[in-house]
């Protein structure tokens, strides 16, 4: 069990899966670079983030719910949680809005699962599935909350906590995903590979006449 002081933002899971260094830069170094992609994402969130609940028949829709899990040490906000009417009450059904298209690394599923785990802990209800909604494709993808996905989510949360507790930002490892990274310009991923010794650089610069 984590204490409230140790809660980490839900979004850290996604950042961690994308690149542990990116996660450290954002959540440890507190560097946050807006780029076009994140800006568009925020606009979309604004729309889904009005904090209201509306009921239509057998579905109640709540937006901008604040969530936390002391077991996972996470807190954050759910874009949309639908509640489906069932005998004796409502069953929560998280829906996460994403710009763009489905990602192969499964980070979206993990984040959705983390939201579900928070909801389960807070409401005491078990949740069998949720959905991801992709803006670019205007399509819903049903995500069953399998044992495997739950395990991965827990492991990722543990990884994030370990990383942040260490206080150390991992060195960059340049890879294809760096091109899509919002922190590319702050991270300077090239430096990791090139690693010219600064002392060599200085002697070179002072020698060359």
């Amino acid at each position: 069990m984590y204490s409230e002081d140790d809660l980490v933002q839900l979004s850290a899971l996604q950042h961690y899966i994308f690149c542990p260094r990116q996660c450290a830069l954002i959540h440890l170094e507190q560097l946050w670079e807006e780029n076009r992609l994140t800006a568009e994402g925020q606009l979309m969130h604004k729309r889904a983030d009005s904090g209201k609940a509306e009921t239509r028949g057998n579905v109640k829709k709540a937006t901008g719910l604040l969530l936390r899990s002391l077991a996972l040490g996470l807190s954050g906000k759910a874009d949309v949680v639908e509640y489906l009417r069932e005998e004796g009450g409502w069953r929560p059904y998280p829906v996460e809005y994403k710009r763009g298209r489905p990602r192969p690394d499964g980070a979206d599923e993990v984040q959705l699962c983390a939201q579900a785990l928070c909801l389960e802990e807070m409401t005491g209800k078990s949740i069998g599935e949720g959905a991801l909604y992709y803006g670019e494709k205007k399509r819903r993808k049903i995500v069953p909350l399998t044992e495997k996905l739950r395990e991965r989510t827990i492991e990722t949360a543990l990884g994030v906590h370990e990383l942040l507790k260490s206080g150390k930002t991992p060195a960059p490892v340049k890879a294809a995903h760096c091109a899509n990274c919002s922190l590319n310009e702050t991270c300077l991923p090239d430096l990791g590979a090139k690693r010219t010794r600064v002392r060599d650089y200085i002697s070179r610069m002072l020698r060359e006449e």
Partner: protein, 344 residues
């Protein structure tokens, strides 16, 4: 590498800035003078009596756009920054190293190597562009003196005091020859020695103003990467002084500020009557000249160069940020030393 973002400089006294949709709108006497989208904006700098609406304040902070108030003459007054505060662990490391005099000297060495090498480059360029006769001899001689200083700074591990001694010598050699880099203007543009508070001649006035712009950029850059602009290595703590910003700008002064001043004068874009000389002898820029200078400064910042350490193309305007990043990387233990920007 990030192309350098836009900065709006507002100089018209009595202007009022407010938010209109996603834009910063500038009004003078209720007449709209311009609208700039907030997206892609890096900073807003207000000179003198400029008003800003509370809505815009909040919106700028939220979007990570810095807002700075300077006096009409460029002296720093205040700055609004958003809630992103950077990594406290990094700042602690910054402080720990500042407490260690040997480590401070090591960092100071880096800043000074950059400063002296770049001053030397400025002299050599002037030599190449318009060196002849006596002018040529004086410039060459100064460049040689700087070379000697450079070697002494680079000789392993000097103490801070010794380094400052060499710095003083280098600065004297450079500014002694500074006049020789000015090819026009006669008496009006003669430079004798650095005077800052207040500047006592036109060149000092130009330099002071440009240095304050550069200091502003250095300070923002340090804050952006999560460092505390007030705790430096070459410049030691003094209340109210942005010591680390001053450290960082040492190596960039010659390349950015000095070159802009020289270009403005030599291309006769700025003339003797662009300045006001007060009763006390202090010299200040008039409004038009300030505008011309800001335009040149902005243009200079868009110029692209190959960064000698990163081996990437960057704009001169992004240099503060790049160097601040490299400094943070060194403090975090990612690099074996701080790589100063050395311009060839």
């Amino acid at each position: 590498m990030k192309k350098h973002g836009n900065t709006i400089y507002v100089t018209t006294q009595g202007s009022y800035l407010h938010k209109e949709g996603e834009c910063v709108c500038v009004r003078v006497d209720s007449v709209e003078k311009g609208k700039i989208p907030i997206h892609g904006l890096e900073g807003v700098v207000c000179f003198g009596q400029i008003g800003v609406s509370p809505f815009l304040l909040g919106h700028l902070a939220e979007n990570g756009v810095s807002l700075t108030f300077l006096t009409e003459h460029g002296k720093f007054l205040a700055r609004l920054v958003g809630p992103v505060s950077g990594n406290v662990l990094l700042r602690r490391e910054q402080y720990r190293r500042a407490d260690d005099l040997q480590e401070s000297a090591r960092l100071a060495t880096g800043f000074l190597l950059g400063k002296i090498a770049n001053s030397r480059t400025v002299l050599q360029r002037a030599c190449r562009d318009h060196g002849e006769g006596e002018r040529d001899a004086i410039l060459r001689c100064a460049a040689l003196r700087l070379k000697d200083c450079l070697q002494r700074v680079n000789q392993n591990e000097s103490a801070l005091d010794a380094l400052r001694g060499v710095e003083g010598e280098a600065a004297a050699a450079y500014f002694d020859a500074f006049s020789q880099m000015i090819t026009v203007g006669g008496e009006a543009f003669t430079f004798h020695q650095r005077s800052r508070r207040p500047p006592l001649d036109r060149i000092n006035c130009l330099l002071s103003f440009l240095y304050s712009l550069l200091a502003h950029d250095a300070r923002s850059a340090l804050e952006t990467v999560g460092l505390d602009p007030a705790v430096g290595y070459l410049h030691r703590d003094r209340p109210g002084r942005p010591s680390l910003a001053l450290d960082l700008m040492e190596e960039l002064r010659p390349v950015l500020a000095d070159r802009v001043a020289l270009t403005l004068i030599n291309r006769q874009e700025i003339a003797a009557d662009d300045f006001k000389i007060l009763e006390s002898g202090a010299v200040i820029l008039n409004d038009d000249a300030r505008k011309k200078l800001l335009i040149s400064w902005q243009q200079k910042k868009t110029q692209e160069i190959l960064h000698p350490y990163l081996q990437e193309t960057v704009t001169l305007g992004s240099l503060c940020r790049v160097q601040a990043l490299l400094l943070a990387r060194y403090l975090r233990g990612d690099l074996d030393a701080y790589p100063p920007f050395i311009y060839k």
